[in-house]
Structures are given as structure tokens and as C-alpha cells.
């Protein structure tokens, strides 16, 4: 009995169950929306979303598209790590989207125009995001500018900066940058044979193991090190951090540097895997950075949890592409996945709710135990 109670109280377990509840609720709401729009195809559509690559008949194809889903998961893991790392230090890094862009910009520019090898492109991309993060951090630490405001501004600056920088790398046959496989083979990420595991899916690269390693490293930094202790203390109580002699301004800047670097690393790795090309006329930052916010919360603000939440979000987003478009408009896939992602934000809400119920149950149990003890005492007194 006691063990069961402690499991329900366990933070990790709570996050897990509440995340699952959110996912199920999201699917129900998404399904209801589909029913309202066009009842006859609703079931098929929601199944397509959930099944994603499982809907392919051949095992080889299933494996290949599983690989693609993983390849798209990697950048989301980085973005959610970026968001959650900053969040643990009390900063809301909505600028992850812009930092992600800058990572792409530098990586592709150096790959296609300067023809540098992948690792230099990657490092330069990370540096670009880190500098952008640092800018937010400095504005916050020394001028007390809200990171949300500066982050949103920098998102736009980064977007148009990226368009500008990558214009010379545009393939004249379209609006996108050149495919690396055609113009910059030296910059393609190594696959270390991972592609062969997924039916020769060349997009399965070292980005995936790197994302998992990054999550573990972030978890260790936050949970096990002096640096994490300092950063979290700064985030939770700036005055206390100052009082005990931490360099609180340095900590804020450092946090944003790391957060910016993470988001940019995600962008650089994804585009260096050649899965997507940058549209130089893009008028909005990619949703990846914003989805990182959802992934971070769905994962219970835990780096390891964000691996799974990122996978799930990618899974339904990719699955959304399989919805029957003769019945529904093209935006329906995004709509369903965004409904689910939206409900994922309720993790904290459900957690609070769950704790309240547990408190009540516990109170009742104590009351019963007390009543029983009193009854026993009375009996003892009589005897």
C-alpha cells in the first residue's frame, strides 16, 4: 500500500501519466474536430495520424519511414532541450526558433558557398545560435529586457538574416537552397552506417545519436553538477543567488548561450543531413523552435522525457501527412497535430489536479486511521 502511494507521488511517474492523459485527450478533441468537418472520413484520418509509417504495407518501407521520423525528431529534441534548459533557469527561450534559423544559415552558407566540411559548418552554426542567445542574455542581465520580447524580435531578425545570407545558395530552378548531395557533398553529415539499418535511408545520420547524447548531457549538467546548481538557483531566486556570491549575470548569459547553441545545433544538424532545404523566401520562422516549447512541457521539463515527447510530436506531425486530402483540406494534418500539442501544454495543470486528489485521499485516510485509533483506545479503556 505504502509503495503504491509513493509511486503515485513520484514526480517522474506523475509526469508520465499526465502526459499520456494529455495525449489521449488531444486525440479525442482532434477526432471530434474531424467528425464535425466530415464525419465519414474521421476515423480513417485519426488512424492515419496515429499510424504514421505503420500504414505502409512493406516492412522495408515502414523501417525507412521510421528512420525519416527519427531524422525529423532530432532537431525537435534539440529545440526542446534549448527551451527546457532556459526554463529551468527561469528564462523563457521563445527565441529558440530564431536561434534554430541562424544555425541553419551559417551551416548552409559555409557548406554551399564556402564549401567547408560538415563539422566546421556545424560548429559555426552552433556559434551563431550561441551568440544570438548571448545577446538575449546580455540584454536581460544588464538592461533587464525581457527575454521573450528580445527573443521574438531576434526571431524576425534571424529569419530575414537567414534569407539574405542564403540567397546566393539558392537553386535557380526553385526557391530553395541547393541540395547538399548535388553541390556540397563534403558537408553531408556522416551516417556511420545508420542509414543501412533503416533501409538505406540516407537522412538517418549521426544527428539522432547526438540528440540523445545532448539530452543526457543536459540532464547531467542540470541535475548533477555545480554549474546546474548555480544556474537553477539563479533562475529560482536571483536575489538569493546574488546574496550567496554567485555571478548571477554571468549565469543568465551563460544559460542563454547554451540554450541558443542547442537550438542552433538542431537546425544545423537537420539541414546538414540534407533532409530539407531552406526556402529563401520564407516569411515565417520554422515551427520547430515553437514546437520545442510544446515538446519540453509534454516531456515534463525533463531532458530524457523530451526525447520521447519530441518523438511523439514528430510522429503525429508526420502521420498527419497521410490524411486523406480528398476529404479534408491540406491544413488538417497541422490542425490535428496542433490540437494535440496544445493539450500537451496542460501537463502541469493535470499534475496539480492529481496532487490535489491525492492530498484529499490522504487526508481522508488519516481521518479514518485516527477514528480507528480512537475507537481502539476507548475499547482498551473499557477493558
Amino acid at each position: 500500500m505504502k509503495e503504491k502511494k509513493s509511486l503515485l507521488r513520484n514526480g517522474g511517474f506523475q509526469t508520465f501519466t499526465t502526459s499520456i492523459v494529455c495525449i489521449i485527450l488531444g486525440m479525442i478533441v482532434g477526432f471530434l474536430a474531424l467528425l464535425i468537418i466530415e464525419p465519414s472520413g474521421a476515423w480513417g484520418a485519426i488512424v492515419a495520424v496515429i499510424k504514421n509509417f505503420f500504414s505502409y504495407p512493406s516492412a522495408a518501407f515502414r523501417l525507412q519511414y521510421f528512420g525519416s521520423t527519427l531524422a525529423k525528431t532530432a532537431p525537435l529534441i534539440f529545440c526542446s532541450l534549448s527551451v527546457l534548459f532556459a526554463y529551468k533557469v527561469g528564462l523563457f527561450n521563445i527565441g529558440a526558433a530564431g536561434q534554430y534559423c541562424l544555425g541553419i544559415a551559417l551551416a548552409l552558407y559555409l557548406a554551399i558557398i564556402v564549401q567547408l566540411p560538415w563539422y566546421i559548418c556545424l560548429l559555426a552554426g552552433i556559434a551563431a545560435g550561441a551568440i544570438s542567445g548571448a545577446l538575449c542574455g546580455i540584454l536581460k542581465a544588464f538592461f533587464n529586457v525581457n527575454v521573450v520580447i528580445s527573443g521574438i524580435m531576434l526571431n524576425w531578425i534571424s529569419l530575414y538574416g537567414t534569407n539574405l545570407l542564403l540567397k546566393p545558395a539558392m537553386d535557380p530552378s526553385g526557391k530553395d537552397t541547393f541540395r547538399l548531395v548535388n553541390k556540397a557533398k563534403q558537408a553531408l553529415l556522416p551516417t556511420l552506417g545508420l542509414d543501412k539499418l533503416f533501409n538505406k535511408n540516407q537522412y538517418v545520420t549521426i544527428a539522432i545519436p547526438l540528440a540523445i547524447i545532448a539530452a543526457v548531457v543536459i540532464w547531467i549538467i542540470l541535475d548533477k553538477t555545480k554549474l546546474g546548481y548555480e544556474l537553477k538557483a539563479t533562475g529560482n531566486n536571483l536575489n538569493a543567488a546574488k546574496y550567496c556570491g554567485m555571478k548571477e549575470n554571468r549565469n543568465i548569459v551563460l544559460t542563454m548561450v547554451i540554450a541558443g547553441g542547442l537550438a542552433a545545433m538542431g537546425g544545423a544538424l537537420y539541414y546538414l543531413s540534407d533532409f530539407e532545404q531552406w526556402n529563401v523566401n520564407a516569411s515565417a520562422v520554422p515551427g520547430m523552435g515553437f514546437n520545442g516549447i510544446a515538446a519540453a512541457f509534454l516531456g515534463g521539463l525533463n531532458p530524457i522525457g523530451s526525447i520521447f515527447s519530441s518523438y511523439f510530436i514528430t510522429h503525429i506531425t508526420v502521420g498527419g501527412g497521410n490524411v486523406d486530402l480528398s476529404r479534408y483540406c491540406a491544413q488538417i494534418a497541422d490542425f490535428i497535430s496542433s490540437v494535440i500539442i496544445y493539450l500537451c501544454g496542460f501537463v502541469l495543470f493535470f499534475k496539480t489536479f492529481m496532487n490535489k486528489r491525492l492530498d484529499k485521499a490522504e487526508e481522508k485516510k488519516i481521518a479514518r486511521a485516527r477514528a480507528a485509533a480512537e475507537a481502539e483506545n476507548k475499547e482498551g479503556g473499557n477493558a
Binding site: 550567496c244 556570491g245 487526508e363 481521518a367
Partner: protein, 507 residues
């Protein structure tokens, strides 16, 4: 059958893992001053929250004038004529006294304020009960005593019959305390029933008719003040005998540890300087106390010494070294400890566990951090357990309790434990016993004296006169940012100290 204004009968309120109020009965007679006494965490706040409808008790009933009433929220309490002066006033600083009094019950005709009428009522009330205020003065311009009178008028204006005073004397000068006592007696004579929550036994002995005592959530008893003594009350509250006078030998000061010359610190609140050209020395083996009414520059003075605020002018020497511009960490490592005034703002990271808070000043030492930068969690746990045991820091889950979930008194104990255990050469203690009960105060005072006797310097900043008088070896009175007098606690009186604190006297 006694005539009770309000009765709380057999109230039981439980929280997970703790019974905050266990079968508590509190009966307030019409026209009496009834003191409510109890240690930190004894359940006084919970009981008041039940009375105001913020919590619903599991068991027990509340009766008003003999009839059972149900209080679901503070509005119900207000309708029943229950009012409270909180320890920290709830006033709008930039509003006038009158505006604050009518706030929420503004007299109006079709939405237009009718202030003239309200002013008449306020003036009549202030006349009747001897509560001098200027209705048109702004709150930010008047003294703390007047602000408190505004709070009392707020209750009277709402025709409250049951007046609750939550630790009302904490922020007042001795003279103001005397005035408040007179006001309370006058209110009782006019038929108001007063519940007086306090730690201070002297005040209870002086003003109350009866006193109910709580201990660890349980009701201990109610006594007639006329038939009891201070010692008996404290025994009821703590469960054992308490020494009121701090036993200590005369100070034997030796070398200078802290030397401050011409310190000036700017104020964040106004353009004037908060600390003006202050010079002082603190030596080994003495407890120097900065006394003064809250807001006379003590806070900024301590910020200047601890490094939280830069100096505008002046010099600080610590252990013979100039630390005027030294970073905070350097000062801490050199041997300066600081029990901060505001435990939530500076003293604790509330979302951290107790153990992580206990190493807040030492986490970077080799004992707690390996060379590679990893925390040694095992050592942190061991150290935390040692301090918790030694300083009797009570909490729900021991070292892993979130600091936020601890009672104020135990949070304070945790900070005191952390700062004294560092064994600093200079201990700066700002209001070290704020919000603590007599048992804990006794313990902390002993620790401070022991620290002095071990050959260290102590700089005490306190608003509690009893603490100032009993603990310090030398008193420096601060008034409007200046040291206006140096007094010897053995030869001075509380009244004289009060005159210096109020700015009526200076050397």
C-alpha cells in the same frame, strides 16, 4: 451562560501528514481582550484562516453570538463583523488615509464618490477612540504607527465588532506600543472584542484579560491573565521552562574585525542617501547592535557591508583588508556570514530542497563539489542531516523537503544554522529571530553569544527592543541613515533607547 462574541468550538483542520489544528476551542467574550499565544507552527495562522473562511475545518463549528455560522470566504467573515489588522499592512501607499479606509465600501451615489460623508464618519470614529490620523495625508508620508491606526479605523469604519490584531507591535517604537495598548483598551471598553495574536509575553501580561495557548496544533488551555505569570505562559507555550535573560559574561573585545569609515549608500526609494557617512568598528568578542525603527537605513547599511549594494562613498575594511569593492563571494569566503533580513528574498531558494539550501554558501567547497564540477550529493545529505539535527530544523520530509513547504520559523532556523555553522569571523545577523517563538529565540541567542565567546565579531541589526537590550554589548542607534547615539545596554533604558530611535534625542 457566558456571553461570547465569537466561539470556535473543537476545530480540527488537517493537512497531508500534519494536523494543524487538533480539537481547538477559542471563545472570545464580548468586550474582552483575548490573547492568542503559541510557538511557530502552533496553528495560530491556520486557526485565523479558518475564522476568515480561507480553510474549511474538518470538524468543529464556529458560533457568532451563540448561533452556528458558516464562513465560506473572507466576505462572510466581513459580514459577520470580523476584521483584522495584518502584521504587514494592506494599504495602498499612494492613496490618502481616507481613500484607504473606504476602499471596497466606497459610499457613492450613482457611481460618484461621496467622500465628505465618509470623512465625517472617519473623523467621528477617530475622535471616539482616540485614533489620531490626518484623513487627507498620503499613506507613504505617514509613520508606521499612523498607518496602523488607519488599519484600525478601516475595521471600525466597517462596523466590525471582532477585531483581530496579528502581531501588531512588531514594527512600533516603545512609545507607539504604549499608545496602541491604550487604544486597544479603549476599544474593549466600548464593547469591541479583541483577539490579540502575539509572541510577546510582556505585552500580553499588560493588555489582555485572558489568554489561550496553542502548542503544536493542540489546545493547551485558557488562563485569566490576572491569575498567571509570564513564566507560566511561556511554560504552557513551549512545554518547558524558558530563560528570558540571555546568560552571558561581559564582553572582552580584542582586535578590530570590521572597520567602516564614512559609508554612504544611495537609496533605491528616494533621491536622498539611505546611509549617510556612517563610521563604526566591530571587534572580536563583542556583539554590536544597530538599533532603529524599520526603514532608517539599516537594510542599506547591511547591503553595503555584505556587498549587495555598491557604496557611494566611504571604505570598508574587513580583517585588515580593504573590501570596499570586493565581490560578495570573496567576502563570504573571507569569513563573513550574513543572516539576511528577508529570508524569502535573499535567504533561501524556495524551490530548492532544504539540503540544497543548507549548502548555499558552501556548495563550491571541495567537500560538496568534486574537481570535475560534480556535486557530491552524499556529502550534502550528510551535512544537511547534521545541521537539521543540531539546530532542530523541523520539516515534513527532512533534507528533501522543499524550502517552500516549511514553516517560517523553521526556514529561519535553517538559515541561522547555515550561517553560524560556517564559523564566520564576522556574523551579520539581521533580525535573526524574526518570527520565532521563545524557545527558538533562546536557542539562537545562545548560539550567537557562543559565537562571540569563541572570539568572533557579531553585528546585530534588530528591531526588537528586548533582543537589542538583552543580547548586545554595545548599541548604536540609527536614525534616518545616521548613527545618532552609542548606548551601553547595561546603563540605558528602553525608554531612552526609544527616544533616540524616534529621533527625539541625539548625541
Amino acid at each position: 451562560m457566558e456571553n461570547y462574541a465569537i466561539e470556535m468550538l473543537n476545530i480540527t483542520k488537517r493537512f497531508p501528514g500534519i494536523i494543524a489544528n487538533d480539537n481547538i476551542t477559542l471563545q472570545l467574550k464580548k468586550g474582552e481582550i483575548h490573547a492568542l499565544l503559541g510557538e511557530n507552527g502552533a496553528g495560530k495562522s491556520t486557526l485565523m484562516s479558518v475564522l476568515f473562511g480561507l480553510y474549511q475545518p474538518e470538524e468543529g463549528v464556529i458560533k457568532k453570538d451563540g448561533e452556528v455560522v458558516k464562513i465560506n470566504d473572507p466576505n462572510d467573515a466581513n459580514r459577520l463583523g470580523i476584521g483584522m489588522v495584518h502584521q504587514h499592512f494592506k494599504l495602498v501607499e499612494c492613496f490618502s488615509v481616507l481613500d484607504n479606509i473606504i476602499l471596497g465600501v466606497e459610499p457613492n451615489t450613482a457611481g460618484f464618490l461621496q467622500k465628505a460623508e465618509a470623512k465625517q464618519k472617519v473623523l467621528a470614529l477617530s475622535d471616539k477612540y482616540g485614533l489620531q490620523v490626518d484623513p487627507d495625508a498620503l499613506i507613504e508620508d505617514i509613520t508606521v504607527g499612523m498607518q496602523q491606526r488607519t488599519e484600525i479605523l478601516k475595521m471600525l469604519y466597517r462596523d466590525n465588532e471582532i477585531l483581530i490584531f496579528d502581531e501588531p507591535t512588531a514594527v512600533l517604537t516603545p512609545q507607539e506600543i504604549q499608545e496602541l495598548m491604550q487604544i486597544m483598551k479603549g476599544l474593549a471598553k466600548e464593547g469591541k472584542s479583541i483577539l490579540f495574536i502575539s509572541h510577546k509575553l510582556n505585552e500580553i501580561m499588560e493588555v489582555a484579560d485572558r489568554c489561550s495557548v496553542l502548542r503544536k496544533g493542540k489546545y493547551i488551555g485558557t488562563v485569566e491573565i490576572a491569575n498567571t505569570t509570564k513564566e507560566e505562559l511561556s511554560r504552557m507555550m513551549v512545554g518547558r521552562d524558558v530563560e528570558f535573560v540571555v546568560a552571558k559574561d561581559p564582553a572582552q573585545p580584542t582586535d578590530v574585525v570590521l572597520n567602516v569609515e564614512g559609508m554612504t549608500v544611495a537609496s533605491k526609494m528616494h533621491h536622498n542617501n539611505a546611509v549617510k557617512n556612517v563610521s563604526l568598528q566591530v571587534r572580536r568578542g563583542e556583539i554590536v547592535c544597530i538599533a532603529g525603527i524599520d526603514g532608517n537605513g539599516q537594510t542599506e547599511f547591511v547591503y553595503g557591508i555584505s556587498g549587495l549594494e555598491p557604496l557611494k562613498a566611504g571604505k570598508i575594511e574587513f580583517l585588515g583588508q580593504d573590501i570596499t569593492k570586493a565581490p560578495i563571494r570573496k567576502r563570504n569566503v573571507m569569513g563573513m556570514s550574513h543572516i539576511p533580513e528577508d529570508r524569502h528574498k535573499h535567504g533561501l531558494v524556495l524551490d530548492y530542497t532544504l539540503e540544497n539550501n543548507l549548502v548555499l554558501q558552501r556548495y563550491f567547497e571541495p567537500e560538496f563539489t568534486s574537481k570535475a564540477g560534480f556535486l557530491r550529493k552524499g556529502n550534502i545529505r550528510k551535512y544537511a542531516e547534521k545541521l537539521i539535527d543540531q539546530y532542530d530544523v523541523r520539516s515534513g520530509q527532512g533534507p528533501i523537503t522543499p524550502a517552500r513547504a516549511m514553516s517560517g520559523g523553521n526556514q529561519q532556523k535553517a538559515i541561522v544554522a547555515r550561517e553560524i555553522d560556517k564559523n564566520p569571523e564576522l556574523l551579520i545577523a539581521v533580525q535573526p529571530t524574526r518570527g520565532l517563538d521563545v524557545g527558538a529565540i533562546e536557542y539562537i541567542h545562545k548560539q550567537i553569544v557562543k559565537h562571540r565567546d569563541a572570539g568572533n565579531a557579531v553585528l546585530l541589526v534588530s528591531l526588537e527592543l528586548e533582543e537589542v537590550m538583552s543580547l548586545s554589548d554595545r548599541i548604536l542607534v540609527m536614525y534616518e541613515g545616521e548613527i545618532v547615539g552609542e548606548l551601553d545596554p547595561k546603563t540605558t533604558t528602553v525608554e531612552e533607547l526609544g527616544l533616540y530611535m524616534a529621533g527625539a534625542k541625539r548625541q
